[in-house]
């Protein structure tokens, strides 16, 4: 009994899609566009987060010591830092080592350093954090602790960089959420209108269905099936486009920007989000139906 009804609903839905192929194509295009935007946004954010984390991993904290501190004081600081839970490896860099490193970096302009009466560079400790703490949040907690110690002149961990980059990521997330929300509404609006059109084009059929005693539910189900089909096809389409676009772009990015990327693999959507995007497509289709139906089913 149920199976026969299901056949009937599916046949009605297929008929509906055939009769209104153009309208359905528009709806599928719209959902695809929305899902594509979501997909691009999600892939971007996920990968920026990964790059951000990787930078954290490779980042070390340089603790500049007070130039006038004694050897004991220096050892005390070094031990205190080594005792912090986040600390992995601590390397001492003396004033002299710092100067020779600077000279090396300056290469042929190193001459300007020759006129110095006195080495102006402070001694420092280069701290490599443990792997599990090598992320922006842990680093800032660690730095706070270090700053409490005596005989320290400054702590440098590329904070400006981190701050700017994390602000950049936050902004992308914010804009993405705003645009995404708007797109979501716009998509539901467009889908509900396409469904309205298909309902309108089938009003005779609906009238007769009511006349011969079809329940409202059985009148609605074929439209829901159409909406679900739209959403499903659109999500497959957008995933396909995303994947191809991703592969093409990734090839170029990894060649041109490998320096910045370090060892991060740029990844496509994780499986969970893959499924989520398909579900979102289907949900959009269903929502579109819900908003367009009510009015047509009176009496």
């Amino acid at each position: 009994m149920l199976l026969y009804r299901l056949f009937f609903f599916v046949r009605e839905a297929v008929q509906g899609i055939k009769n209104n192929a153009f309208i359905h194509a528009i709806a599928i295009g719209t959902i695809t566009f929305a899902l594509l935007t979501f997909g691009i946004f999600i892939i971007t954010v996920i990968n920026l987060d990964r790059i951000f984390d990787d930078w954290g991993k490779r980042m070390h904290v340089i603790v500049y010591l007070d130039g006038k501190s004694t050897e004991e004081e220096t050892t005390a600081v070094s031990e205190a830092i080594a005792g912090l839970p986040q600390t992995g490896k601590v390397t001492y860099i003396s004033k002299e080592e710092a100067l020779s490193m600077l000279k090396e970096n300056l290469q042929n302009q190193a001459g300007i350093l020759d006129n110095l009466d006195e080495n102006p560079l402070p001694p420092s400790l280069e701290v490599q954090l443990k792997e599990e703490h090598a992320n922006p949040q842990s680093i800032s907690i660690f730095v706070k602790e270090v700053k409490k110690l005596n005989n320290i002149s400054d702590v440098d961990y590329g904070q400006e960089w981190l701050r700017k980059f994390s602000a950049f990521i936050s902004m992308i997330k914010l804009v993405g959420t705003g645009v995404g929300g708007f797109l979501l509404l716009a998509t539901i609006f467009i889908i509900s209108n396409t469904i309205k059109l298909t309902i309108y084009s089938r009003r005779d059929e609906i009238e007769i269905m009511k006349l011969v005693g079809a329940t409202n539910l059985s009148i609605q189900i074929p439209f829901f099936l159409e909406g679900i089909t739209q959403g499903f096809l659109a999500s497959l389409l957008s995933l396909g486009i995303l994947y191809v676009g991703f592969k093409l772009l990734i090839y170029k990015i990894t060649i041109d920007y490998s320096l910045y990327l370090g060892y991060v693999d740029i990844i496509f959507l994780p499986q969970k989000l893959f499924a989520a995007l398909i579900l979102l497509g289907i949900a959009l289709g269903i929502f579109g139906c819900v908003f367009s139906m009510g009015r047509f089913l009176k009496v």
Binding site: L2, E205, V212, G213
Partner: protein, 221 residues
Amino acid sequence: MIQMFDVYKVYPNKHSALTAINLHINKGDFTFLTGQSGAGKTTMINLIFCAERATKGQIVVKGINLGKIKKSRIPYLRRDIGVVFQDFKLLNSRTVFENVVFALEVTGARRAEIKRKAWQVLKLVGLQNRLDATPLELSGGEQQRIAIARAIINDPTILLADEPTGNLDSEITHDIMELFKNINNRGTTVVIATHNNTLAQQYATRHLTLERGRIINPEEQ
């Protein structure tokens, strides 16, 4: 089978279409509802299958009080009431067979049963050879036969017809009336609304006349 007690119908535009209607149609009656254009015939038919609701008064169909029926029950009531219209209301993109079985399919009947019943009713209306034609390939009389087949495929206890022969010539009109008579003979209560008085006098076992929303021959009851 169909009872009305002091029924009024006033449309939202304040137009009063039916006034103080009392009637009692029995099981197996072959009733004609006549009256001039605008007398309220269609309104009456629409009230019986819940396409409209009475403004005042009680309507009881098959023992169900339509003033109190739940919206969700209306479809089930309609499966037991076949309706035929002047303009046939067929789906022109579907075949004769598909049109006729539409009423069974929405109720979730089995394929074998659908075929058996479709064959039965199409034979009764004399169209068993045109299963694959579409309505527009058929004459008006044939189209009305399809509509009648669709209306009776659920074996309804009541068959309503609103001006069923309005678009047909007199010879075909009589064929269709014979068909209604046949259906009536199988026990179905038939109500036909028409402005054609002669037709009513020729076929009716019950004849009600409406004039500006009132029944003017209540002595018939």
